[in-house]
């Protein structure tokens, strides 16, 4: 039986796809057979971030509607041995994702994969609800910013009432907070919510903090999951998050501002 992990947020542009790409790559790199599914029907982008956009032939909706088999639609990653991508449809209506159809595909994947990572679309509509419905765990991607935190709380409410686990009265979906685009300098200056602030408001366990970093854009430009930039702060922060997801105990990093010299502190504003 595969473990099903949804990457969700409510708000758009906070880093769901970046996170899905890196978390799934990290799990696969550790030898777990992993598939990452793009649920954003009509606005497919995971393929670009994973650098397989020109290898898409069939998609998730084709499989649901029986026009292709799973094996035809799954794209094998070229960098990591045990990683597969199931792209979203770019042309269909998002209602093409039916609960029965999604269940069929997830059940079939469950038989051969260890981890199924579901990359949710933004919003709280049908597509987002389909992405989280079958989840065992949820990574709630949040920016330290008011609208993102509020939307994350909203999505937590939906996880607690509209997931399969909630509807069936099973153990609740295991929630993880992943704080992205974190800037410790601005936190020190009182311009940005701190990790502690966001943890206090959302009251769910912290999986990791990804620092705001230029590496993230540089990696996505090239279709490289940022976790593979092993020398970068953001890449290492994602690697820590994957380790914690697998139960490892790792200390949190990249949460404090870099120490600066006396002159830059005086004249460039800490």
């Amino acid at each position: 039986m595969a473990r099903i992990i949804v990457v969700t947020s409510g708000k758009g542009g906070v880093g769901k796809t970046t996170t899905s790409a890196s978390i799934s790559t990290g799990l696969a790199k550790r030898g777990h057979k992993t598939v990452v599914i793009d649920f954003d029907v009509g606005l497919r982008n995971l393929d670009l971030i994973m650098n397989c956009e020109r290898r898409v032939v069939y998609d998730f909706v084709n499989v649901i509607q029986g026009e292709a088999s799973l094996n035809q639609a799954l794209i094998k990653d070229k960098r990591v041995e045990t990683l597969y991508i199931l792209p979203a449809s770019q042309t269909r209506e998002k209602e093409a994702l039916t609960r029965e159809g999604v269940e069929k595909v997830i059940n079939e994947l469950s038989q051969t994969f260890d981890y199924i990572v579901c990359d949710s679309p933004a919003g709280i509509e049908h597509g987002a609800q389909m992405a989280l419905y079958y989840a065992d765990e949820a990574i709630v991607v949040t920016n330290p910013e008011v609208s993102s935190v509020r939307d994350s709380d909203r999505i937590l409410g939906i996880l607690q009432s509209k997931s399969r686990r909630a509807e069936m009265g099973q153990d609740p979906v295991k929630e993880h907070l992943l704080l992205t685009r974190y800037n410790p300098d601005r936190v020190d200056r009182g311009e940005m919510l701190s990790v502690k602030d966001v943890e206090e408001i959302l009251a769910i366990p912290l999986l990791g903090v990804i620092p705001e970093s230029q590496v993230v854009l540089n990696a996505s430009n090239q279709g490289l999951p940022v976790i593979l930039e092993e020398n970068s702060d953001a890449g290492q922060a994602y690697d820590d998050a994957v380790a914690r997801l697998l139960g490892e105990d790792r200390e949190h990093r990249f949460m404090t501002a870099q120490k600066k010299g006396f002159f830059s502190r005086m004249f460039k504003g800490g």
Binding site: V146, D188, R189, E200, I201, M266
Partner: protein, 83 residues
């Protein structure tokens, strides 16, 4: 923190404003989360019925649902104006 920061932080601490606003709105929205969808309409209709007999303002009728394991209790609180 440098001594320049000391002067800046007082008027620029927008993070604490953000936190305070979030705590209030999130608490409010969590309170509404468990309520049934029909509650606002029920409240409006109750108000209309009561207004046939007594003049009351919107905030004088409070409707809450208390959920226990085995049953839910609809709690209706109407404040009548003094004569």
């Amino acid at each position: 923190m440098s001594f320049l920061d000391y002067f800046r932080s007082k008027k620029n601490n927008t993070a604490s404003v953000a936190k305070e606003r979030l705590q209030i709105i999130v608490a409010h929205e969590r309170g509404q989360r468990d309520m049934p969808d029909y509650l606002p309409q029920l409240q409006q209709e109750l108000l209309d019925v009561i207004r046939k007999y007594v003049q009351i303002s919107d905030d004088m009728v409070q409707v809450d649902v208390d959920r226990n394991e085995s049953c839910s209790v609809l709690e209706l609180n109407v404040t009548l104006p003094e004569k």
